[in-house]
Symmetry: C2
Subunit: 480 residues, 2 copies
């Protein structure tokens, strides 16, 4: 019966955790724990013995030490927004979920260092807002930023729209604190731009998807707030055209290009059709679009003339057939909405398969041409709807079911589609997961993509730091 | 007798290496090997069984596999410019030095990706020049760049003058190839800005000082060449003044500030006194100096007015008492010479002790005030001559012997001095080695600075990837 306590925790452990964490820190009733056991995409429906919600690093460390002593698997979870099932437990019911959501203090903002010290459970949006309130800028932006928290963002090395200028989450973390699988606390909270004193443990924990420990605090590098900004939506004839336009901007000033996004005509048409108020502000639909944003902390930095010079030349040469510049913050938001709603529009259009891939920049046009042809051959009528961060080589090569096809029948082909795209990506020297990570969904791809010395080295490190294999089991590594 | 073959290699190994590497790839005569056994600062005088000079990754991998099979320790060496004895063998004579200097191909430069693929043995200067020849810019610059090679630069995560803008070597490496301690090749040569597929092995190898493997190739991120540049030398009254000036520039545009260097009056006076042609281009000596360089890939980017606006305001407020702007490349080189010659001037002034430390930016003035007082109390007449990369928190807090003191007597106090400075750095949340690494010189500091879970995690990783402890033994880790 729903609501009945249903814990498989050893009773001594249960008692110790209850004493440590109190009633709001330990959830065992399935009505309370269910939401923690299903991922955001609803691909995985697991079970857990309990959800632990420590309120501090100290509580987290003690809870981990207790679980470690009892041999209980632990699944770290932040905002539970993984696209690959990276933060939910398997269905054995043996594991506990350790949620960071109660650790949500913004400790300090330092204007001399331009840094912010935050707990893992602070959402990315809350961290952005806290920086903005002090006239500073946290240059990491992802669709799930309202729910995703700093711990999860770092554990998965999140990317997003500003990677082209500021890098991934990895590049923004100056310091880190984590609870290791045995409950020891690794304190790497130094706020130093230069520190060459042994192995890059911070870098190792970032992107390890919680398999080596639970990130509990971080020092984040901030930037001065932008004082000038220019945003434009451009109609181009292909991904190659978008890439050429990106190169033209980057050649002028890579530091000014804070976002450069690609949208296929097919994907944009779905946004125009399914999202209310998302009309196309251009005279007619185009085969593809680029959304470019320039910004600078200097007011009067000549950004407008940079934008107009490059676009003027591109319009003259025919590289861009039409373009609209945002003249107000409202218009800017409207242009960004056209980009941000692609995932939602695809969801409304039916079943879809996501391929979060990256290739070297020069290979993007080939990727799109070849993968489009291959998918159309695989499933006639399939809607090939790629979009994404073309400036950093990351394309969400998404496929939407044919209009008349049964959704379940389409979804049953997901591995066929993923493998078809993946083989082209592999041939072009790319990656099968640019920013979403491996989680549970892509573990099966690891041996063929990261096999040999690479996967073996990862396994050795995992075994060295988590010999019992208790921390986020079933993620990254395929079953041996 | 000098020149006599003196190898302690097992004869089967000797034969196999000779067959693999040929006469120019295997040095066993002590007249040939001696230079590889002494570090650049001449702090360590080791011995080796042989020097191996593979000409390719394949030769390197086979040579490592042979040494591994025979249990022979291996010391990777690039340009042999370590400041901390990181690339030379101990005096047992058991180890071989594996030099990367024959692996020196620049494989390709990609204008779409702005990347360069190079062998480990390419010197940093040669790589910079190859990029410049294609109209691009490799934004890493260190004093030893004419000798230091890409492999060493990455193995030690080199910093230098442009870290404030472009980060350390770590931030520039998009791809890496390394030979692991057992001779397996780890190929991480993907040219991807985004790739979240497992542990950050590239990051782990960078900065591991050759203790986890030998870096053999890399993909380096380039930038468009600067089209505008402004350089100024400014007289200020203290490190606090220099820091305030840095903040004023950074507030306007952090992307424009490509270097911001601090020089104490004491250290500058040594340059003026000992370096020919290095006169001070200001009306009178000052307590301290800042060298600021702005640059942009955009021509006509308003850099001159940015420089003049900030300096004008600083002159008016008294923050800067005098300043000179470079009006030509010759003048720019003359200003940079005043910065680059500090190490040489200190060498000519007598014995010195180097402290390559970093602290959070806001703590720099306190560091300089307190460490100056402490060192002067320790050795009356000591010349406190700090300089360095104040914009990224890295000060070379160097001490020069008193004028009349015996050099050897001063050098005998080196640990006293290092420990005195280190304790202040520790209290301020800093690092005992900002960019030079640990090498042999600073292993003794690791337990007290990086002890507990941190050093334990590093040891576990080392044991996992190099269970026999053959790769660069005696570096980073203190004897157990």
């Amino acid at each position: 019966m729903s609501g009945t306590p249903e814990t498989s925790l050893p009773s001594t452990l249960h008692q110790a955790l209850a004493a440590l964490l109190g009633p709001s820190g330990l959830l065992t009733d399935t009505t309370d724990t269910a939401a923690f056991c299903t991922d955001w995409r609803a691909l995985y429906h697991g079970r857990c013995a309990a959800v632990l919600r420590p309120a501090s690093t100290e509580e987290c460390a003690k809870a981990v030490a207790l679980c470690h002593a009892h041999g209980v698997p632990m699944v770290p979870q932040g905002g539970n927004t993984s696209m690959v099932g990276g933060a939910t437990p398997d269905d054995s019911g043996r594991a506990v979920v350790i949620s960071t959501t109660r650790m949500k203090r913004v400790h300090s903002i330092d204007h001399a260092d331009l840094t912010m010290t935050v707990d893992a459970g602070v959402t990315l949006k809350a961290a952005q807002d806290a920086a903005a309130a002090e006239g500073l800028f946290l240059p990491l932006s992802i669709s799930s930023e309202g729910s995703a928290d700093i711990g999860g963002v770092l554990a998965t090395n999140a990317g997003g729209n500003n990677t082209v200028r500021y890098g991934n989450a990895r590049e923004l973390a100056l310091g880190l604190e984590a609870v290791l699988p045995d409950g020891n606390v690794l304190n790497l909270m130094r706020r130093l731009r230069k520190d060459n004193t042994g192995y890059a443990l911070r870098q190792l924990l970032i992107g390890a998807e919680g398999t080596l420990g639970i990130i509990t605090r971080a020092v984040i590098q901030l930037q001065p707030a932008p004082r000038a900004r220019e945003t434009a939506l451009c109609a181009v004839d292909s991904a190659a055209g978008a890439l050429e336009l990106f190169s033209a901007f980057r050649k002028q000033d890579p530091a000014a290009v804070v976002a450069f996004e690609f949208m296929s005509g097919t994907s944009m048409a779905l946004v125009n059709r399914f999202i209310e108020g998302a009309g196309l502000p251009l005279s007619e639909p185009a085969p593809a679009y680029a959304l470019v944003e320039l910004s600078s902390p200097r007011a009067g930095d000549g950004l407008r003339s940079l934008m107009e010079d490059v676009l003027g030349e591109a319009l003259e040469s025919g590289l861009v057939s039409d373009a609209v510049l945002a003249e107000s913050e409202t218009q800017r938001n409207a242009l960004w909405m056209l980009r941000e709603e692609h995932a939602e529009a695809q969801k409304r259009a039916g079943a879809s398969v996501k391929n979060d891939v990256s290739v070297p920049l020069a290979a993007i046009p080939t990727l799109i041409t070849e993968a489009t042809a291959a998918c159309e051959a695989l499933i006639p009528g399939i809607r090939v709807a790629p979009f994404g961060h073309i400036g950093d080589g990351n394309i969400h090569f998404n496929l939407v079911q044919p209009e008349q096809m049964d959704a379940a029948a389409f979804s049953a082909r997901d591995h066929d589609i993923m493998d078809t795209v993946a083989e082209i990506v592999r041939r072009l020297g790319g990656s099968f997961s640019a920013e979403h990570g491996v989680g549970q969904l892509k573990t099966y791809m690891m041996p063929s993509w990261r096999g040999g010395a690479e996967l073996e080295s990862m396994r050795r490190i995992k075994n060295a730091l988590d010999p019992q294999g208790l921390m986020n089991p079933g993620k990254i590594f395929p079953a041996a």
